[in-house]
């Protein structure tokens, strides 16, 4: 992590990871994983509950950020 903080791509990478956590927390506090007050729980593809969808999107964001940083900018070549 020390080495990541020493160059711009590393700092951007860490920032993306941090923002993804903050955004997820904001969405949860906004009630994205709850059922609507007057409706049924939202199911993506007919079976994926929102806590699963939110988590899968979160992992995909980390995966994409990781692929870009580690393939192009990993400091220990």
């Amino acid at each position: 992590m020390r080495e990541m903080l020493e160059h711009t791509p590393g700092r951007i990478y860490l920032l993306v990871l941090l923002i993804s956590i903050v955004l997820m927390a904001v969405l949860v506090f906004m009630g994205i994983t709850d059922a609507p007050a007057d409706g049924e729980p939202l199911l993506v593809f007919g079976w994926m509950e929102m806590p699963l969808v939110v988590g899968v999107v979160f992992v995909i964001v980390w995966l994409i950020a990781y692929l870009i940083y580690f393939i192009k900018y990993w400091p220990y070549r």
Partner: protein
């Protein structure tokens, strides 16, 4: 009879692998404890994934989802991020540091970093105190599986697992524990995924998992969102659960895995496997079991222990008996793969940090290895007390909460010293000792002291890790800044040399 023969063959494969490992091992402490630091990417992945995917993923995790709805899955999202973070951020430095200085345990590395034998003892005792009961939960899980499938008492399955563990760890050491995890992991994934597909095909032939979800939507829609049917998972608890998962980077049996790596490129590719195979595939299987399939197939269970067994109960009810035996093998595989790594880690801490670090500083390689093997037996015997406690009706059966409420907060208490020791030059011995003691003592008292309403008043009735880790971190930073900074020699050895090594090593 066929059940016992199948389980016998399964055990024999593990024992033969352990014996083979003993034959090819270099008979050195480094070889026994860290697999000679030769573990490659694929073996490492199975090693770590199935070190953390215990029988909890078969019982506790789906059981908790079944009772409380999908909010608990945020523990998984946190864990995936935490494990990836360990290998992205801390792993390379810990690996390089241990390789350059021939450290055999992460506790040893931190004790040298902070120049403190007292810290070595504190960290060793803390880690052992929280890891040994967790080892004990694994035989308990298998005991439950035996009980449900064969009707044999709990202790039979637990003892079977304990014996298998002792043979595997004593003979095989870390290398074979890692290799066996490939076999065990394959059995477990096949059993868990195969049973899921088969049950869905039998019970929901028309619409599969969509049909199951729609059935829950019609009858118990509160099971499909937070806060869940009992109103447990508020937004605060969901995020708290995520944070608890994030602390997976402090699990000692996972941290030590980083020290066994063959080279630094492992740390480049390892997170890819965690994200794809772990986050987007493996953990989804027990999630679908506990959150969608089980509530649709068998609704109405309210007892915690019964909920923990829900997946096995459904498999035994819906599928042929022979498949139940295969699934039990999967459960044994999950339990053994985790407990073996925990046992290895515990025995290394006992032999290297307690015996050699405190009582016998001049012990040679053969003596340390012998102590490690002896401690395996002692730890297994001690951990079986968990089964005894549950058998006598004295203990709580909720496996999910043991992991997240006791073990994880306990492991987290070395987090600030670990992260600070590897990344922050200003972290001091006094800071590490004061912080670890504060967090651990507060945690233990907090878990023990409750008011009349059963609330943990010292923990402000929050999750045990929140206040304790906050205090631990604050004390670490404040005391470190108030005390004299570490010597230049420490800075050279633990930062400059590590940086140079990581940048130059091919």
């Amino acid at each position: 009879m066929v059940d016992l023969i199948a389980l016998g063959v399964f055990s024999l494969i593990i024992i033969l692998m352990a014996a083979y490992g003993y034959r090819i091992s270099a008979k050195t402490a480094e070889d026994y404890m860290l697999g000679g630091r030769t573990i490659g990417l694929v073996v490492m992945f199975f090693f770590v994934l199935f070190a953390i995917s215990s029988s909890w993923t078969f019982y506790g995790f789906p059981g908790h989802l079944y009772l409380h709805g999908p909010g608990y899955v945020f523990f998984i999202w946190g864990s995936v991020a935490g494990f990836a973070a360990l290998y992205m951020f801390l792993g390379p430095r810990l690996w390089a540091l241990a390789k350059i200085n021939r450290f055999l345990s992460p506790v040893e590395a931190l004790a040298e970093r902070y120049e403190s034998k007292a810290l070595r003892v504190i960290l060793a005792v803390t880690m052992l105190a929280f890891i040994v009961p967790y080892v004990g939960v694994q035989p308990l899980g298998v005991g439950r599986g035996f009980e449900a499938l064969t009707g044999l008492p709990l202790w039979v399955g637990a003892t079977y697992t304990a014996v298998l563990l002792v043979i595997l760890v004593i003979l095989g050491g870390m290398r074979i524990v890692a290799w066996v995890n490939i076999f065990l992991g394959t059995v477990y994934v096949t059993a868990l995924l195969g049973s899921l597909f088969w049950v869905i095909a039998v019970v929901f032939p028309d619409g599969g998992v969509v049909q199951a979800a729609q059935q829950i939507l019609a009858n118990q829609p509160e099971n499909l969102s937070t806060p869940g049917p009992l109103g447990t998972y508020s937004s605060v608890l969901v995020i708290g659960t995520f944070v608890v998962g994030l602390l997976a980077f402090t699990w000692p049996h996972v941290v030590i895995g980083a020290m066994t790596a063959r080279d630094k490129t492992l740390f480049k590719w390892f997170p890819l496997l965690i994200f794809i195979f772990g986050g987007l595939f493996f953990y989804i299987i027990p999630y679908v079991w506990g959150s969608v399939v089980a509530p649709a197939v068998m609704p109405g269970v309210t007892d915690v222990a019964e909920a923990d067994r829900i997946v096995q109960t459904i498999i035994q009810t819906v599928l042929p008996r022979w498949f139940g035996v295969f699934v039990l093998m999967g459960v044994i595989a999950a339990a053994v793969s985790t407990a073996a790594v925990q046992l290895m880690t515990s025995s290394i801490i006992v032999a290297r940090d307690v015996i050699q670090g405190v009582f016998k500083p001049d012990a040679n390689d053969a003596e340390i290895t012998l102590w490690a093997r002896l401690s395996v037996i002692a730890i297994v015997v001690l951990s079986l007390s968990v089964t005894v406690v549950v058998s006598l009706g004295l203990g709580d059966e909720a496996m999910a909460l043991y992991l997240t409420d006791v073990s994880v907060p306990g492991f987290a208490q070395w987090g600030p010293a670990l992260v600070g020791g590897l990344l922050w030059k200003r972290g001091t011995r006094q800071g590490a000792i004061a912080a670890t003691l504060t967090g651990t003592i507060w945690l233990v008292l907090g878990l023990l002291i409750t008011n009349d309403a059963g609330q943990r008043i010292l923990l402000l009735d929050l999750h045990p890790v929140i206040l304790t880790l906050f205090l631990n971190t604050v004390v670490y930073i404040v005391v470190s800044l108030l005390t004299e900074k570490p010597s230049e020699e420490i800075e050279d050895v633990f930062f400059t040399e590590v940086d140079d090594y990581l940048r130059s090593e091919r």
